[in-house]
Amino acid sequence: MGGSASQLPRDLLGEYQELTFLTKQEIVLAHKRFSELLSKEERESILQKRVPKSKILTLPELRANPFQDRICRVFSTSEDEDGSMSFEDFLDMLSVFSDSATSEIKSHYAFRIFDFDDDGTLDRKDLEKLVNCLTGEGDETRLSESEMDQLIENILEESDIDKDGTINLSEFQHVISRSPDFASSFKIVL
């Protein structure tokens, strides 16, 4: 595990266990992986450092994820909005994506991730961007206009309960609660 300087103090470990859904082993592993992203000198003061987004996105779990930018954006508490993450942001992210996180908190953060324009609702443009993320990068992988319209109509038909043309948080959580695959797919384990 390295020298004693790179280990977490015990009370901090206990605090993290209480404030996140991660187990002790998972927190220790996260600490190890996070410190690998920093240079040797920065590892001493791991708790105060922020890792830039480009480095976070080199993690294999995030590298191929089409929502990588949104994930960094949502979990980052940086004042400059550059998507850089501190260790505690990293732990928060792993906690939400862990196996034992509740469905409510997962759906809350899923909503935040899918809300590309950060306006608090999922409107047509957000849904269109979401579907494009799912089908892949590149022009030949996108759905055609008519297919996209038909798809978004279907989604709004199913999820928009008050028919205002957008999906707000409670409607989203309602749809997710009836979706059996969500909990198993919205998961990142180191």
């Binding site: 294999p60 994820n65 043309g165 909990a183």
Partner: protein, 702 residues
């Protein structure tokens, strides 16, 4: 990307598709229903908040405070706040903690302890690393197969412990210790010809006979702990305690079945809770596919590319299906009649095909059994002898592989939507597999009981065919043992002779071949059905062969590693995503069906058939159940009366009526709930319109 809240002042109200004018979003964001979104972030980054210039940044914090007051009962980790906020809340909680009573502190302490125990247990699951590895490369769909396999391994291990612990181990111990065994069972009215049973070979035996015996469960194998025939109908006395072997055998078999039933039902209920839908489940498919479509566990590599492709393919297929359905609803009556006629003809063809397959299985079993009795096994040569012994298994496996291919072709003629096509083919395949097993059992039964006719020539003396089957339970157990071994052999052979060469040909051979044939695809449904079939075979045979669950455990463990090997070496991810959750429940249902089918021969043998008189722990008894009723008779008076009452009709019929009433009540309740949900949804729609109207009015007035 500039957050939209910064643009609100500049844009005018948008027009949405209904032609209604949408008021500026800023007012919407101040509504209480959106207030829950403001938790994340420190003071400056209150997300989604209508932070128009001038609003004090302290506002989110105040809201935090009042919300936090309501949420003290919620554990901190469930709050969607950043770590700094949670820490502050925790500090506040700790300050209030000294005011808490002892009881609450103890509660918090135990909750923390259970959390830690749960955490370590989760980490200690067997094969966790492998499953995680598979998930990362191939997604949750294929991982669900390996999850199912792991569940079956644990189920079999538990069952094996039961049977081995109560039947095999005590027997071995008693023999090892050479304890006194008192024979039970009436031995006065026994005809000596029924007692003729000697499976050992006489004279010079060639070495390969032993090998053949090992593979087909005859000869010396019949006299091992593996089969029913070896056990004695006796009670062993030691340390003032009498261990009744037949009773232990019967109870352990019944207990094994009950434990399996309980475990599977518990898991099915657990899965059902996760996939429960209040109304029509089909209403959710698009949202489910889009919102829960991406597997976040996928690591970099070809899997991601494949996943994009499969999602796009699936969405396109569903949209096409929808347009097709709309067209189909507009068909003329003449066309519809033609289509129904075609579907009826295809169904008849399917039934005819099934009938032919079953008849082949029946003939093969007859021939194999008769041949084994008539000619000695050592006289035909190794290969022919093995072929004859394994003939039923070969025919069943061939039918199981070839007939579903024909089903796949036929179902395309019926022009159903794609999802229904897949389900229908799956259902037909399930029916084929489980029924072929039943046909095998039926043909065995007709041989053993002379087609159910106790006055036929061979069955008159002992009430079963004692010439062909002196120890009929061992015969049945032997067939199941052969099916198990053959299944494993087939997997090995297919792996070596089909999958690896295919991979070699496709990667190193001509490009045309690669394009035509393509790399192997790991299809989950046929593999899961294979597992269910194997498990059903084990269940059917468990009553007649106590070591079979243990063998099955070993087989499944081996299967896990073989399938994992072929997955990583030979397979590419599937074209069509496999929905793990809804199908997991379906596969458990099929497993339950297999268990139900396995109960039938068990109950029939225990209650109706006469046990062999030449072998086994029930020799001399009229039925297997009579040991249990004899044991009940020795119980004290109260217990006996109670058990007799529970088993009588006076208890069963009122219980049945009560359960029916309960079921009708629950159905009515569910129906009224779904109606209530529909009404509430309509009301929500009206409220939504009211809200938009009011906010428009407010913005116009202000």
């Amino acid at each position: 990307m500039e957050p939209r809240w910064a643009q609100t002042g500049r844009d005018g109200p948008d027009d949405d598709e209904g032609g209604q004018q949408r008021p500026p979003p800023s007012l919407f964001l101040q509504l209480p229903s959106n207030a829950t979104l403001r938790f994340r972030g420190s003071v400056a980054r209150a997300w989604g908040a209508a932070l128009e210039e001038g609003e004090p940044p302290g506002a989110p914090q105040e809201r935090d405070g009042e919300e936090a007051g309501e949420q003290e009962s919620v554990p901190l980790k469930q709050l969607p706040l950043c770590m700094a906020e949670k820490r502050r809340l925790r500090l506040r909680e700790q300050q209030a903690a000294w005011k808490r009573s002892r009881w609450e502190q103890w509660q918090v302490g135990t909750r923390r302890m259970w959390g830690q125990v749960g955490g370590t247990l989760l980490y200690a699951q067997v094969w966790r690393g492998s499953l995680h590895h598979i998930e990362g490369h191939f997604g949750t769909g294929i991982q669900s197969y390996f999850n199912f396999l792991r569940f079956l391994v644990l189920l079999n291990l538990g069952g094996a412990l039961l049977t081995v612990g109560f039947v095999v181990a005590p027997n071995a111990a008693f023999e090892g210790l050479q304890l006194n065994q008192t024979q039970k069972g009436p031995n006065s009215t026994v005809i000596s010809s029924c007692l003729q049973y000697d499976p050992t070979k006489r004279g010079l035996v060639s070495y390969f006979t032993y090998f053949m015996d090992l593979l087909s469960g005859t000869g010396f194998m019949e006299l091992t702990h593996l089969f029913y025939g070896y056990y004695q109908n006796s009670a062993v006395h030691f340390v003032g305690f009498s261990y009744n072997i037949p009773l232990a055998y019967l109870l352990s078999v019944l207990g094994y079945f009950s434990v399996c039933l309980f475990w599977i039902v518990r898991r099915a209920v657990h899965l059902l809770k996760r996939s429960l839908v209040s109304e029509n489940g089909a209403l959710n498919t698009y949202s489910n596919k889009v919102f829960a479509g991406w597997d976040f566990c996928l690591g970099p590599g070809t899997a991601v590319h494949m996943k994009h492709n499969s999602l796009r393919y699936e969405l396109r297929m569903d949209l096409e299906e929808q347009t097709l359905r709309r067209l189909m609803a507009q068909r003329s009556p003449g066309q519809r009649l033609g289509l129904y006629g075609l579907r009826g003809a295809v169904n008849l063809l399917v039934l005819a095909l099934l009938g032919v397959a079953f008849y082949c299985v029946y003939l093969a079993t007859e021939y194999s059994q008769r041949d084994q009795q008539n000619s000695g096994l050592g006289q035909q040569g190794l290969v022919v002898g093995l072929l004859v012994a394994y003939l039923p298994s070969i025919v069943i496996t061939a039918a199981n592989q070839l007939v579903p291919l024909v089903f796949g072709l036929l179902v395309r003629l019926e022009r159903y939507p794609l999802s229904l096509e897949i389900r229908l083919t799956l259902l037909r395949t399930v029916f084929l597999r489980l029924s072929s097993l039943l046909v095998l059992l039926f043909s065995l039964w007709s041989q053993i009981t002379c087609n159910g006719d106790p006055d036929a020539d061979s069955c008159r003396t002992c009430r079963y065919d004692h010439k062909q089957h002196p120890c009929w339970e061992t015969s049945v157990g032997r067939e199941m043992y052969k099916l198990l071994v053959f299944d494993l052999l087939v997997v090995l052979l297919v792996l070596l002779l089909v999958e690896f060469p295919r991979k070699l040909l496709v990667t190193h051979g001509p490009a045309l071949l690669a394009r035509l044939w393509g790399q192997q695809e790991f299809l989950v449904p046929p593999n899961v059905l294979d597992l269910v079939y194997g498990q059903t075979v084990c269940w059917v045979g468990a009553a007649f062969s106590p070591l079979l669950p243990l063998l099955n455990t070993a087989k499944f463990v081996l299967l896990f590693y073989l399938k994992k090997l072929t997955l990583f070496s030979n397979c590419r991810p599937a074209d069509r995503t496999f929905r793990a959750s809804s199908s997991s429940f379906f596969f458990l249902l099929v497993l339950l069906l297999g268990l139900a089918i396995a109960w039938v021969p068990l109950l029939y043998s225990v209650f109706v058939l006469q046990p062999s008189q030449a072998c086994g722990p029930f020799r001399g008894e009229p039925t297997m159940w009579s040991t249990l009723s004899a044991a009940i008779d020795t119980l004290p008076h109260v217990a006996r009366e109670f058990l007799q009452f529970v088993g009588s009709l006076a208890f069963a019929v009122p219980l049945f009526l009560l359960l029916c009433i309960l079921m009708f009540y629950l159905m009515a309740l569910a129906h009224s709930y779904s109606r209530l949900v529909k009404e509430l949804k309509g009301q929500l729609r009206l409220e939504g319109r009211d809200k938009v109207f009011l906010v428009t009015q407010i913005t116009e007035l202000s």
